[in-house]
């Protein structure tokens, strides 16, 4: 049976992570993993909600060593966590010290972790071992599980690193603004550094000043793993970001103009990754050079127009592209557009059908729909039109906050007497657009 080591090659004194109070060596990491693995309850699966990227990695690795599967929920909404926990039977949560999830046993890491008392060898993990399940919003309203084997995560990390020419050592650190519980975050900010012998920054900088401080704190050269949203903020804020070797962006399309500005300002190439939860990262491009995506090594395009799939040795079967694509050459493609129903707000993907389903489950809602107005602005939020006599917008927003990720909360939420459904019961986009226009004309600004 083939195995792959938990981590790549590190020198004896290399840092594997930077926490707020300083570096963690490989020896400390392996001993933290072994200690936690000994303390974990006997359960097949675990919700890893640690907010520190390093603690998340320790929890992820300890679960793997114990043969447990880490569940990655698509949002932290209480209802989502409870539903995923309930559907995965025997399950517990790894939580920060001041946090707990109602109805779930919770394990925290000790505040003062002991110095390594023993030398722990690097664990060898079977390639076919199921290590993570990333959930995405399905069109039926049920979270859809995407199962990840150790082999899949290692293959993607190695193929991504080789595409970008990442080399081990040299005091390189990955600093990331993306959440590590997100599929791209797990791949690019956790698996990528540990498979290449690089360090990772444990934090998750949000504001441009946070990003600058994080880069300064870790020193050496850095790879910044981020999203178009955070990158735009750094460019607009005009911060000076020190010693970036490369910027890696994903989760939503990066405008070429923004990529150009970022390359000039931060003196580093901006590479973009194309991926989706079902297959993981599959292709990359340097946005200022081309709009064509090049598949990662070991990943192939299969099928024919208009239905294309991704094939790889680590995928149990071909996976359909969520977008419409045009294949332009050997392993190269352009994205033509999103599948109709799928939306992406700040890197959070969901289907409009799923969100609408959640809206219709709200007490007092008789009819309603979510849609994404076409404004061309990168930060366009969803709009919801709702028929709910006797209910206020606050009532509905409050209920939605409980069941969906905050990124999808409708802004605005319009209360209307009825929806402009056509004779087949469908909601034509044009009718929704007109309804919205009429509504914003009539509405007084006091109408919150």
């Amino acid at each position: 049976m083939a195995n792959a080591p938990l981590i790549g090659l590190y020198g004896p004194d290399d840092a594997l992570a930077w926490e707020a109070d300083g570096p963690r060596s490989v020896g400390e990491f392996l001993s933290h993993v072994a200690d936690l693995a000994d303390a974990l309850p006997d359960c097949p699966s675990v919700l890893n909600l640690f907010s520190s990227r390093y603690e998340f990695l320790v929890g992820f690795a300890a679960a793997i060593v114990r043969g447990q599967v880490t569940l990655l929920p698509q949002s932290r909404a209480p209802q989502t966590l409870r539903r995923i926990a309930a559907e995965n039977g025997d399950c517990y949560a790894l939580t920060d010290r001041d946090e707990s999830i109602e109805g779930l046993a919770s394990v925290t890491l000790p505040l003062r972790r002991s110095r390594p008392s023993r030398s722990v060898p690097v664990p060898q993990i079977p390639l076919h071992q199921l290590v993570a399940v990333a959930f995405t919003s399905g069109s039926t309203g049920q979270p859809t599980p995407n199962r990840k084997t150790w082999g899949a995560l290692v293959s993607v990390a190695l193929a991504t690193g080789s595409r970008f020419g990442l080399k081990a050592g040299g005091r390189r650190t990955v600093v990331a603004t993306v959440p590590h519980q997100h599929m791209f975050g797990l791949e690019a900010s956790v698996m990528l550094p540990i498979q290449h012998g690089l360090a990772m920054h444990a934090g998750r900088p949000l504001f441009p000043e946070d990003v600058r401080t994080a880069l300064e704190d870790v020193g050496g050269t850095t790879v910044l793993v981020t999203t178009p949203l955070h990158l735009r903020a750094c460019v607009m804020a005009g911060v000076k970001l020190p010693s970036i070797e490369m910027i890696v962006s994903a989760t939503s399309p990066l405008p070429r103009e923004l990529a150009r500005e970022a390359e000039e300002r931060f003196h580093a190439p901006v590479n973009e990754i194309f991926g989706f939860a079902e297959a993981g990262s599959v292709a990359s491009r340097r946005t200022v050079v081309t709009d064509e995506w090049q598949m990662l090594d070991g990943v192939c395009l299969a099928g024919e127009d208009p239905s294309w799939s991704v094939e790889a040795a680590y995928l149990s079967r071909p996976v359909r592209f969520p977008d419409r694509i045009a294949v332009t050459g050997q392993g190269r493609f352009r994205v033509l557009g999103r599948a109709e129903d799928e939306i992406n707000i700040a890197g959070h993907r969901a289907s409009l059908g799923d969100l609408t389903q959640k809206l219709l489950e709200v007490d007092g809602v008789q009819d309603g729909a979510f849609f994404l107005p076409e404004t061309g602005h990168p930060l366009t939020r969803l709009t919801a039109v709702v028929v709910a006599p006797g209910k206020t917008r606050e009532d509905i927003q409050r209920a939605l906050r409980w069941s969906i990720d905050p990124a999808f909360l409708p802004r605005p939420l319009l209360l209307v007497p009825r929806l402009p459904r056509n004779e087949t019961g469908k909601l034509p986009r044009e009718a929704l657009r007109r309804l919205m226009e009429e509504h914003s004309e009539q509405e007084s600004p006091h109408g919150l």
């Binding site: 504001f207 903020a233 911060v239």
Partner: protein, 87 residues
């Protein structure tokens, strides 16, 4: 408590930046901006920080000791801007 001129100014900045459908004068100085109040989230915090940097020359960062308090209400945010503004 009556609201200060800077609070009104910041209320307008919030509404314009985040394209909220609210009259800025109806935002209560002590009411929550995030979570249950206006329902803002971390994407909004990022957007808002850019507008504040451009208007007042204040670069917000998570390590600011008053960061949690700052985003708790309009009044707290206006106070933090007053203290840290460079223009």
């Amino acid at each position: 408590m009556s609201s200060q001129p800077l609070e009104r100014e910041v209320a307008t900045l919030i509404v314009q930046t985040l394209k909220l459908k609210v009259d800025p004068s109806t935002i209560q100085p002590e009411a929550a901006l995030f979570g249950d109040g206006l329902g803002l989230d971390s994407i909004d915090a990022l957007e808002l920080s850019l507008a504040i940097a451009q208007t007042y020359g204040y670069q917000i960062k998570s390590s600011d000791p008053e960061i949690k308090a700052m985003f708790s209400s309009l009044r707290a945010l206006a106070r933090a801007i007053e203290k840290n503004r460079t223009k």
